[in-house]
């Protein structure tokens, strides 16, 4: 049996909550305790943290989508199977640094009513992929009870630069900063494998975001959300293009397929908006543009599709092109793109009357 202090016990419970192994009701009250952090953690506690991270993150990624039989790129070739069949398990390991412990100590010691009472300023360059993956899981878990705002996580540089957090929760970072997130860790090597495992989680998030636009009534909020989506998507598309990993954008294609069924109308994106009296046409057009940020981003995928269709058998990147075309056709990309274009056109004041209303 291992003996840990009360502080260490709280830290371990919070960690298990981040790893979705403990319900929020048992972990969230611990964020209000605000116990004083010890100078260092005991050896048994560190061992338990290591064990929880090693088993917890692997299990979490396997459950999130690693178990699905998918087809992804490995170098020039397309590999099919579950995540651990596509990449040897020894290459899937996540490395954690002392920054993870620093974060866990901070989140255990801080009182969420006074989040600035205790400093947490990690060195961004020192964050390993494992540290960043844990930050994502922690953010996602805390977000469900709005504790992420109480701890002012969206305002912290470590989260503002965090590609995965920005990609999954663009609305949280609306208007925070114009600084683009860093996707390099997530589009190469093991980071790309993490992103593959999280594809269905990310698809659900974007569906939620797009479907939620119907309920947005405030023009300013819509513009902030659209601006954040545009920045994230633009940066993400650039990153996957540079890494030659268009398959990592599959979740966006699937989200597009779900939000653009036959007969879909522009009202789904702007139906809830209430224009203030005497609103300028320019402002209304900017809001509509923001509302359709995701739909407009399909044009980028259309360029990939047209390029892929022109890639011959003996050309470089044939397998990757065929994989993208298979995804595009599976999602009926041409029909979705046509519907997206029609909605955008419908909201253009210079193309239809409705764009003015």
């Amino acid at each position: 049996m291992k003996v840990v202090s009360r502080f260490e016990a709280n830290l371990l419970r919070i960690l298990h909550f981040f790893l979705r192994r403990l319900p929020a009701e048992q972990a969230l009250p611990l964020l209000d305790v605000g116990l004083k952090a010890p100078p260092c953690l005991g050896r048994p506690a560190v061992g338990l943290v290591q064990d929880a991270l090693a088993k917890g993150t692997a299990l979490l990624l396997a459950r999130a989508g690693g178990w699905r039989r998918e087809r992804n790129l490995r170098g020039e070739a397309v590999v099919a199977g579950r995540l651990w069949a596509r990449t040897p398990p020894q290459e899937l390991g996540l490395a954690f640094s002392g920054e993870t412990l620093e974060f866990l100590v901070w989140v255990t010691a801080v009182n969420r009513k006074k989040p600035m009472g205790l400093v947490w300023e990690p060195e961004l360059a020192k964050l390993t992929l494992g540290d960043q993956a844990l930050l994502y899981f922690a953010y996602a878990a805390l977000r469900e009870s709005n504790a992420h705002r109480e701890l002012d996580l969206p305002g912290r540089p470590a989260l503002q630069k965090h590609g995965l957090c920005r990609l999954a929760f663009p609305e949280d970072f609306a208007g925070v900063k114009e600084e683009p997130p860093d996707f390099a860790p997530w589009t190469n090597g093991t980071g790309a494998c993490v992103l593959e495992a999280l594809q269905s989680e990310l698809c659900d998030r974007w569906l939620q975001l797009e479907r939620g636009k119907e309920d947005v009534s405030d023009h300013v909020r819509m513009r902030a959300l659209g601006g954040s989506q545009e920045l994230v998507l633009d940066t993400y598309y650039k990153a996957v293009e540079e890494a030659g990993r268009l398959d990592l954008a599959r979740f966006l294609l699937r989200a597009a397929a779900s939000v653009l069924p036959e007969g879909v109308a522009a009202q789904r994106w702007v139906g809830g908006l209430q224009a203030p009296m005497g609103a300028r046409l320019a402002d209304r057009a900017a809001t509509y543009r923001a509302a359709t940020a995701f739909l407009r981003s399909l044009e980028r995928m259309a360029v990939w599709t047209s390029r892929a269709r022109g890639t011959g058998y003996f050309d470089e990147g044939y397998a990757a092109s065929q994989l993208w075309l298979a995804d595009w056709e599976h999602c009926d990309g041409d029909a979705r793109l046509a519907r997206a274009r029609e909605i955008i056109r419908h909201l253009d004041p210079l193309k239809t009357n409705e764009g003015q209303s």
């Binding site: 300028r280 046409l281 004041p349 210079l350 193309k351 003015q356």
Partner: protein, 189 residues
């Protein structure tokens, strides 16, 4: 014993109020011919419709609305702008214990501040009114402009198709239906 004095304050506010609104879009021009030739055809068509070349763009001012079209990339910008000089005056009165001295100055300062706020509010209302006039004017113009640009794009596409057909072979017959906008070209290759 102090007496009550009536203190009267007069203020004026002169301000130039500006209102501006604009919308922008892309022309849906098919690339039947290389983009430079399409741009040239579009330029010719728009010049025929009263647009004038200005620094690589085509500009037309009509009914207080300026339409700017970049023929190279098909960007259309429609804007309306106006300004008005607002001269606002107001007067208010209050009561003080003396006609000179600290109390009177304090009351006068307060009255002046209130009056200035009221004039500022009136100026804001005028600006909002002017803004809605400008937006209304822009909205009214957009309907006609939309139809005109659709026609211009159709004519440019038809002309481009004729030129393309002439490049492919010998044109035997051209049938145009101005009602439906359909164009049939018979080419002998």
């Amino acid at each position: 014993m102090s007496r009550g004095y009536r203190i009267k304050v007069r203020e004026s506010l002169r301000r130039v109020i500006r209102a501006h609104d604009r919308v922008s879009t892309q022309l849906e021009l098919l690339e039947v011919l290389p983009s430079e030739q399409m741009a040239q055809l579009l330029t010719q068509e728009l010049e025929g419709r009263g647009f004038q070349q200005k620094g690589g763009t085509l500009v037309r001012k009509q009914h207080g609305v300026t339409v700017t079209i970049d023929p190279k990339n098909g960007t259309v910008t429609v804007e309306s702008e106006t300004s008005q000089e607002a001269a606002l005056e107001g007067e208010t009165a209050g009561r003080g214990y003396d006609d000179l001295g600290p109390n009177s100055r304090e009351v006068e300062k307060q009255l002046r501040g209130q009056l200035r706020q009221s004039l500022e509010k009136q100026a804001e209302e005028k600006a909002a009114e002017l803004q809605s006039q400008v937006t209304g004017r822009l909205e009214r113009e957009l309907g006609d402009l939309r139809r005109e640009l659709d026609q211009a794009v159709n004519r440019v596409t038809a002309e481009a198709l004729k030129q393309k057909a002439a490049q492919i072979g010998q044109i035997k017959e051209i049938t145009e239906d101005p009602q439906t906008g359909s164009l049939t070209i018979v080419v002998e290759v």
